[in-house]
């Protein structure tokens, strides 16, 4: 369904020659990356290689040591609600608010600051989309792991961001739930055409979701960018499966 979708020429997000790290500890080196509207870019790589760091750079949560981040044509240095993070952590909904209040909070401080009249409708719609319309009044600690991730998706998609930054969002749920969530995400992305930078260490997940697959090696260099392939495209599958930086990952999986 997303295969025939046309990808615009101008990138939504551009990372230009980014080097980044923590204190004296370098993580990313000369990373160049362009993400175009409504494309899903999956980032694969061994644990600790800097995938989360890449997302923090893309969301301006972390300032690069060198290089620049250009979002919708402008240099950016601070996080904003047009580039939303979704985490692996099932604690990401704020526990002192019900699910519904969490979404309202996001709309109120984010995209619908000056349109309180449209909050209610938007909340109902985004809960509907993830199938949680009956859980609106529950507190996050009352949700199962899978429901919590659905709730996080509802909060994020409810804000209709230009770019989603997802950090192994389905990494801590059981296999059947993961599969459900992956297909839910495919539907959401198809309906919203949201550009997505999706970090995972699961090759099959990347092949299922991604239009493009990036491989980050353990030294923080991008070593594969399977540009202009479609999801499930044989050459993308082959390229990724045969990529030396992913072999260990693939066969180590329990």
């Amino acid at each position: 369904m997303t295969g025939q979708h046309e990808i615009p020429k101008k990138p939504i997000l551009e990372l230009k020659n980014i080097s980044a790290g923590y204190a004296d500890y370098p993580v990313l080196h000369q990373v160049n990356l362009q993400i175009f509207g409504s494309e899903v870019v999956c980032v694969l790589g061994p644990s600790g290689c800097g995938k989360s760091t890449l997302l923090k750079i893309a969301g301006s949560f972390l300032a690069p040591k060198a290089g620049s981040v250009v979002f919708q044509g402008k240099m950016v240095t601070n996080p904003d609600h047009h580039r939303l993070m979704v985490f692996q952590n099932q604690n990401q909904l704020l526990p002192w608010m019900t699910l519904e209040q969490n979404i309202r909070f996001a709309l109120k401080h984010g995209p619908l600051k000056s349109h309180p009249s449209s909050w209610r409708e938007r909340i109902a719609k985004s809960l509907q989309e993830v199938g949680l319309q009956n859980a609106a009044k529950l507190y996050p600690h009352q949700l199962s792991g899978g429901m919590a991730q659905r709730g996080a998706l509802a909060r994020a998609f409810g804000c209709q961001p230009a770019l989603l930054l997802m950090d192994e969002p389905f990494g801590s749920v059981d296999a059947p739930t993961r599969s459900e969530l992956q297909h839910l995400l495919l539907d959401l992305i198809a309906n919203h055409h949201t550009a997505t930078l999706f970090v995972t260490h699961d090759l099959e997940e990347a092949l299922l979701l991604g239009h493009r697959i990036l491989v980050l090696n353990s030294r923080g260099f991008i070593t594969l960018d399977s540009r202009s392939t479609k999801p499930g495209h044989p050459s993308a599958v082959r390229q990724a499966m045969e990529h030396p930086d992913l072999r260990a990952n693939r066969y180590d999986r329990p």
Binding site: N78, N91, L94, G110
Partner: protein, 260 residues
């Protein structure tokens, strides 16, 4: 779980029902002077009279006002200090060191110095309470602030909450369990320190409050009044501890699944 199924409320009633006759039995059996152990009836009537005539009620109000004012000042100071210490690591460390030094110091120990600096009277009592409340609240707030999960911080940043908005909408609710824990300690310390300070200042300047009330009952050899005052101090102390704080916890952090 089920076998130790004694309801603590029933146990409390039973305990009181045991203590009251025991008191009377010892008093009558040992023919102890009513000055040392007044009859329950006279303690009860002293309590009622104090409440009805207002002499005791006024002192209760005064003590509560002291502690609320002191706690309010201490809370504002603690939040301000937290904010300041977030601005610079040097301030943060300095505050940490001061906390380590002053936190363990009982408020009452400061009294001689406070008397020198602030004189005797209400302001000195307030200083003692502020000291007793400020440090436990501040150390707990700082611990809570440090333990805010990165996902909540980043969520706050994502919705462009910075400065005071971050403090109000993310940091305050996120540290609420710690704040409550700090307030519990602060209450226990503050209430004790307040009564002691009132007794001391009552002796010198008639500053008022429940401590002063007890002190004055002793001076007038009014034993029933003395015991009535002690009862009130016990009751308020445990009511706040076991009812007010428990109620707030049930309505907030327990409902949110955030208990520490």
């Amino acid at each position: 779980m089920k076998k130790a199924g004694i309801d603590p409320k029933i146990l409390g009633v039973v305990l009181v029902l045991l203590i009251l006759p025991a008191w009377e039995a010892i008093r009558i059996g040992g023919s102890i002077s009513p000055l040392l152990m007044p009859p329950l009836v006279s303690i009860g009537s002293a309590l009622l009279q104090g409440l009805i005539q207002g002499t005791l009620l006024v002192q209760i109000g005064l003590s509560l006002m002291y502690i609320l004012t002191g706690a309010g000042i201490a809370l504002v100071l603690a939040f301000f200090t937290l904010w300041i210490s977030n601005l610079s690591p040097a301030v943060h460390h300095a505050v940490g060191i001061l906390g380590a030094l002053f936190h363990p110091l009982p408020g009452i120990v400061l009294l001689p110095i406070i008397i020198l600096w602030a004189g005797i009277g209400p302001s000195a009592v307030l200083v003692v309470i502020v000291h007793s409340v400020f440090w436990p609240v501040l150390t707990n707030l700082q611990a809570g602030y440090r333990s805010i999960p990165e996902t909540w911080r980043m969520t706050g940043q994502n919705y462009e909450l910075a400065g005071w908005k971050f403090l109000v909408f993310i940091a305050l609710p996120a540290t609420f369990p710690y704040l409550l824990a700090g307030l519990r300690i602060a209450w226990a310390r503050g209430w004790r320190a307040l009564i002691s300070a009132e007794m001391l200042f009552g002796a010198i300047a008639g500053a008022g409050g429940l401590g002063w009330y007890i002190h004055s009952r002793r001076v007038f050899m009014d034993s029933p009044g003395l015991f009535a005052g002690i009862l009130v101090i016990m009751l308020i102390g445990s009511l706040v501890e076991s009812m007010m704080f428990s109620l707030i916890e049930r309505r907030t952090i327990q409902k949110w699944g955030m208990s520490l």
